[in-house]
């Protein structure tokens, strides 16, 4: 067993952490989810977006790391979006919310993107993960966007990531058909925004699962790597 103050292994090691929930800073959440997404096989550019999205969700009062973890465990089975004006279909199965979200933000102000009329996106898995990208699209368009699925309806304003409340008791992980449309500015003020949970608490088990994925981007030690990291000679003085 490691000594309790040996930091040389995974940060989420239970040694010294016996609480069921741990407080991570937003930058730690970003870095952890970035590496975990890369460890799960996403490209570096997509993984960066995943880290950013996890921190965004956490700041909005949603369980960002947990949402990320559940998505990333499914990620390999999810379909890529097919942007088309007005309606993005999902003929081969549920869409990946990260890739759909990225396309949504990338296509903002293009005919296939959100903004003109109602944009429908079919069968988006883990739909909460698309919220940061709807907010980014709103920022790119400089107008509020309204997103809804099932009993959930909320508006996201440009350059703003205030607290978000989702209806309790709702199944938030099942694939959902999304409706995205521009929203009247006055209209958005009616949306209640209250913190729904402690922003940065993360279950120890989630942390450990994400850490296990993050470890996949690391390289096991070798004599060469150990020798190359430090001083060529003795560093005492």
């Amino acid at each position: 067993m490691m000594s309790p103050n040996d930091p040389a292994h995974s940060a989420s090691s239970p040694d010294g952490h016996d609480a069921p929930r741990v407080c991570l800073s937003l930058s730690e959440i970003n870095a952890l989810c970035f590496k975990a997404a890369r460890g799960a096989g996403l490209t570096w550019g997509e993984a960066e977006e995943a880290g950013w999205a996890a921190a965004w969700l956490t700041r909005a009062g949603l369980p960002g790391p947990s949402i990320l973890l559940h998505w990333v465990q499914d990620c390999a089975t999810l379909a890529r979006p097919r942007p088309a004006p007005g309606h993005w279909q999902a003929p081969t199965g549920p869409l990946c919310p990260l890739r759909a979200g990225l396309a949504l933000a990338d296509f903002a102000a293009l005919p296939e993107g959100p903004g003109a009329g109602v944009l429908r996106i079919d069968a988006v898995a883990h739909p909460r993960l698309i919220l940061p990208f709807v907010a980014r699209a709103a920022t790119r368009l400089d107008l509020p966007l309204r997103i809804g699925w099932g009993g959930t309806e909320l508006a996201l304003r440009p350059a703003e990531t205030g607290p978000i409340t989702l209806p309790p008791g709702q199944e938030h992980e099942a694939p959902a058909d999304l409706r995205i449309a521009r929203s009247d500015r006055r209209d958005t003020d009616a949306i209640p925004t209250v913190y729904s949970m402690p922003a940065q608490g993360i279950a120890l088990t989630d942390w450990q699962a994400l850490d296990a994925l993050a470890l996949r981007v690391t390289v096991p030690p070798s004599d060469a790597s150990r020798a190359g990291a430090g001083a060529a000679g003795d560093d005492n003085d």
Partner: protein, 551 residues
Amino acid sequence: MSCESRNPMPQAAAFRRPPGEVMRLDRMGCSHPTRLSFLRQLLRRIEAEGWVFDRPVWDMDARGVGRAVYRMRFDGGSLSLVAFGHADQRSDRVIATAWDATFALFDGTPDAADLDRLQANVPLQEAGRVSPRELSLSRANRSVRLFDHVVARLAEGQQPDAQMLRETGYLMRTTAVYGSGKFGAADRAMIAGRPFQAEMLSVWLTRAFTVDLVEHLARARGGAGAVPLREDLRRGLGVGNSTGLGMAPFLVRHPVLLNNWMMAREEALARVRAQATADEMTLAGFRAALAAAVQNATDWQSAHPIQQAKLTDLRDGLARLERFVTNGWDASAPQPWDTLWHWGQTNLPLEAQEALLAAMLEPHGPLIDGLGQCMQADEEAHFGIDGTMRVAALRDILRAHYDWAIHTDYTDPAHCARFWYISEEKLEPRLGERFDEEGASRELPLDTGRQAAALWHALRDEPDDAPLARFLLAHPEHRLMVRRAQTTARHPYAEIRDNLIDADMLPIDLLRCKLAFFGATRFDPRSDRWVRISLYQGAPYPDDLNRGDAP
């Protein structure tokens, strides 16, 4: 840069050095601290705002084990360095498990319960968890030779050997200073608006702690016969730091921040060069700065051949510069600083050119100090990609800003000899040899030049008017580089314009650039990827500035 719209001197833009000249590793690796460096900014701010220092807790035993609190009070709050002294065995590497002293910078004044909580976690460093009340976490080890010598001499009622003090320059060396958002610490320093202020404050207060500690131990050993450290010797001590590869990827991972640092420094140089005349007081300030640079180059020692050659360059160059300033430079002619700068470009090696830059900035505080406020970055605001940009526009960006990268043959082993990775064992960045070591399949995306070239080639068959949203949908593997290229188009100093996986790349060049922005001096590489530095040598102590009711 975010401050562009408030720029009071648009005419200086014509004097700015181009990114292709500034953002090269060989020049970045010759960076010197300037008056815009973060520790200089912090000291100016403390003085201007009248921060008051005291030491409400000093609870140390005769071995230096115990705790102390160093507090700075200012309008609207306080910040406290909580220091724990230990007597454990330890190692000098970043990843060790015990240190001579550990520290946390606390937002406010810690009560006994806070101290107990910190005592349970801070000495564990990475393995402990701190809270959002803590702004930084750090640790330090004694300088083996100097620390004991100073304690022994002071205990005997004598001053330590001045030569030994000069050679080492510090009593303790920090091995890591973890800033915002590490191990549960606060995400954004509460003293926001300038980068690394919390970390710099922590190190400054640590310096005071190191001197207090040797004097305490000397008293414990020597009793009434012990003496305090003489003022001039005390002033010459800094805090040492050892920095390895962990810091190198930072500049690559934070392109907007890097741009803003570089832009502020380059704008400062441009403003000075754009001055029509030089008055006598400013000239006197410049000569004093030059004399200080010469003294610094004399005191600065290194055992590493790379740095020894640079030090020779620096000393020779500064000697030539002094002769020219005395005999050849007509400071009464129009735009004298620009004339001096051009002379330096022709006649000085890089080390001395960059030292000249620092000396030219020194007497121009009122002209340039405001630029310190432009060195923060809202990175999130620049994170999104513009998917409406057309392929032709991205090609133009690559031609304009990545010409250094896109024509290189990265299948040539010399141009891809290295790979950056995170070590599983230490969770720290490392640099591997691609053709000798395992692990390249887990390479970090620091191969910016190679990625730019790959993007350039991938765009070859795309229609000019296709939007990047369409390209990225088909090629998510280029997303990271498209983001960097768009960022660089808006922030010209964002990208290091050198191949970071080249066989000849020196990681210490990256470290030196970043550490110079902190305000570090006496760069002393211990290998091509590990450097020792000193912080705050010659600077005032907390009780020199605005003394409160300290015990």
